[in-house]
Symmetry: C2
Subunit: 147 residues, 2 copies
DNA sequence: CGTCAAATTGAAAATGGTTTTCAATATCAA
DNA sequence: TTGATATTGAAAACCATTTTCAATTTGACG
């Protein structure tokens, strides 16, 4: 029984006494439709096409809003700026990030998660969330010659 | 046969045609002495005590230099700014980071590393380095009441 | 030892991603 | 409709980090 993203946003807004706006709907639609990790800048460029009047600030604000609403996840990789990923129903996952072309592959590994819990337990640490990123070369980029 | 940090820096500088300066020596000494992850700001404050004339820019520049020389490792956690860690002889390790007090616990887990390689292999990905961070509450902070 | 080109420094200005301000506009409960 | 309140876009502000630039150090060479 998956809830539609638009619907989920609506509920969150209502619950917080916030308002539904054209901009928020449009941004969410494009964000979900993109189906990949987007930076505020990339999303701004995309939204601009169908909603030319959109402002940079609104994209930033909406992205944070979506994160609060549980619709987006904020991620900071090593390239300096924050990216957001649509939080679909599929659970947590980690990333393989190509340092050459920037492509991102997602993966999940239950055994690794368990081992993480073991480590936390040994340190009497209560894990709220975690981040695992493997940086390197994707299959395509390994083939290319350097430089 | 561990090499002294100061010596290692000297060698790097010589090899690169760079110069040894009082500031660099002082910064390195304090950095190594601190024995923990430091942001540029924190290090600047520490160095200021024994070398009041030090400039912010010099600390930033030296930190990058130390990273290039292999003496420091650059890390970006989720708190917005970059921290540096003295790269001792002990190998790679990952982090448990307390979201309340900011304390950092290091750990190593060979089995997790192996599983990461398995994941990479399955995706024909060549790992150059990785980052694993568990965010949550340390033992001390779990005891405190909220707010 | 002096010289002097080249590297380094500190202060201040610049950068660049992100956030805030503010006046104008849109939303929505009544 | 109205009115109180949230939202928007543009521009300014933020803030960690980087760069600029004139003055100062460093170190190879004579």
């Amino acid at each position: 029984m998956k809830k539609k993203a638009a619907e989920q946003l609506m509920e969150y807004l209502a619950g917080q006494g916030l308002k539904s706006t054209q901009q928020r709907d449009e941004i969410l639609k494009i964000f979900v439709g993109a189906g990949r990790h987007l930076s505020a800048e990339e999303l701004y460029a995309l939204v601009k096409k169908s909603y030319p009047g959109i402002g940079y600030a609104t994209v930033y604000r909406t992205l944070k809003l979506l994160a609060e609403a549980g619709l987006a996840e904020e991620r900071r990789f090593e390239d300096g700026f924050t990216r957001y990923e649509y939080r679909a129903t599929n659970g947590h996952h980690d990333h393989l990030i190509c340092t050459k072309c920037g492509s991102i592959i997602e993966f999940e590994n239950a055994r690794i998660e368990e081992l993480q819990q073991d480590v936390a337990r040994k340190n009497k640490f209560l894990v709220q969330n975690h981040k695992l990123e493997l940086y390197g070369l994707c299959a395509v980029c390994q083939g290319k010659k350097n430089r």
